[in-house]
Symmetry: C2
Subunit: 207 residues, 2 copies
DNA sequence: TAGATTGTTAATCGATTAACAATC
DNA sequence: TAGATTGTTAATCGATTAACAATC
């Protein structure tokens, strides 16, 4: 089956990919049950999700692990690497710059930009901090695919506008702000304090 | 109306709270339309969400802003502060330790624990790094409410088990791993590389 | 053949939203 | 009264999952 893939399915594909990576090295096939338990979802969910992708599954046998990994990587667009710029050289921005999971997954942080001129020129793990003025030229020169916003909330919209103006069409936003953006620009939000607030809700309900 | 509140509604309450905080200081009331635009959702969604909480709304007028803020804070359990321990004193763990949004929202990071004995005793913004052996005693002594896992994936399950064993019932997991846990323990996952992979999908579809 | 497991259907469940009566 | 806006219903939409035929 092909056609448009539900957003919830797309969001689970990285989990399946990780599940496959955790398989015993020599294991040639893998069942929906195995993938389900490593992703923490129902096995019918796994089969349904994969069914959108013409999966290399064989009834009675399972999915060909290597072929499924390749399929997931292709589907997620991970057959090439992506260029990332991070805005905001505070503690979070610097931690994200050196986060090993990004490079492992195919994302290269090529610059960290900050409005504080004093930080310009310093380097974090060989990534150079640049003045925010250079955002547009960096995006153009390095063909930046993804902008990460790790600034305070007050600066987030302006930085987003500049990323978008420079041609960036994907943004990962860590600032506690909801960004306005034109059609065709994809934004994902990670709300760190919000996550703790949701946990607080459950704690306060727990008794 | 009262009764059980949908999970999706709970996850939006922090957004509404933030929307209220951004209001003009003197503004006494606030419409579902205003809240909707600051949260990036439909206004019917806002009214529906709030309707689970007996909101201070008046037809033709709007919601009493101060009363709604208090209601949301009460509902989320934010009338008290919460004690947080972070496991993993790598770059991410240290950045989270000093993340200002946590303290602002009522979450106090009381310790950072790490398996590297060499890090023990150092401090990050007055938060002391402790050996991981001390996890249980810290949880007990400080009545820790929430454990944050910022370790590599390989250590995440063990750390989670130790948090749970020590009595922690809420976990925020940044490690790329799906944690097994007993009933009654709430886990939220933030998948940093996964977020970029989802953005990569949209980029690869965009043309 | 017996056992395993996929692929798919259909039922169910839950979440979103348009619409509008209620009412300030 | 006219205008504004909530609260709620009902329609719709989308996501999950049990169940099972297909088939290795």
């Amino acid at each position: 089956m092909r056609g448009s893939i539900p957003a919830a399915t797309i969001a689970r594909l990285p989990l399946y990919l990780r599940g496959l990576a955790e398989l015993e090295p020599g294991q040639p096939t893998c069942s929906s049950d195995q993938l389900a338990s490593s992703a923490g979802v129902n096995s019918a969910q796994v089969r349904k999700d994969l069914s959108y992708l013409d999966p290399p599954g064989v009834r009675g046998v399972g999915y060909n692990a290597a072929a499924l990994r390749d399929l997931l990587r292709r589907e997620l667009g991970l057959t090439r690497r992506y260029c990332v710029v991070i805005a905001g050289a505070g503690n979070l921005g610097r931690a994200l710059t050196v986060y090993p999971g990004f490079e492992e997954s195919g994302f290269d942080v090529v610059a960290l930009v900050d409005s504080d001129q004093g930080k310009a020129g310093t380097t974090i793990n060989s990534v150079v901090v640049k003045a925010i003025d250079e955002l547009e030229s960096i995006v153009a020169k390095e063909s930046v695919d993804i902008g990460v916003i790790a600034t305070p909330a007050g600066a987030a919209q302006e930085v987003a506008d500049r990323f978008v103006g420079a041609g960036v069409r994907s943004i990962l936003n860590f600032a506690p702000a909801v960004l306005k953006r034109p059609e065709g620009v994809e934004v994902r939000r990670v709300d760190l304090a919000g996550e703790l607030q949701i946990l607080a809700y459950h704690l306060s309900q727990a008794r």
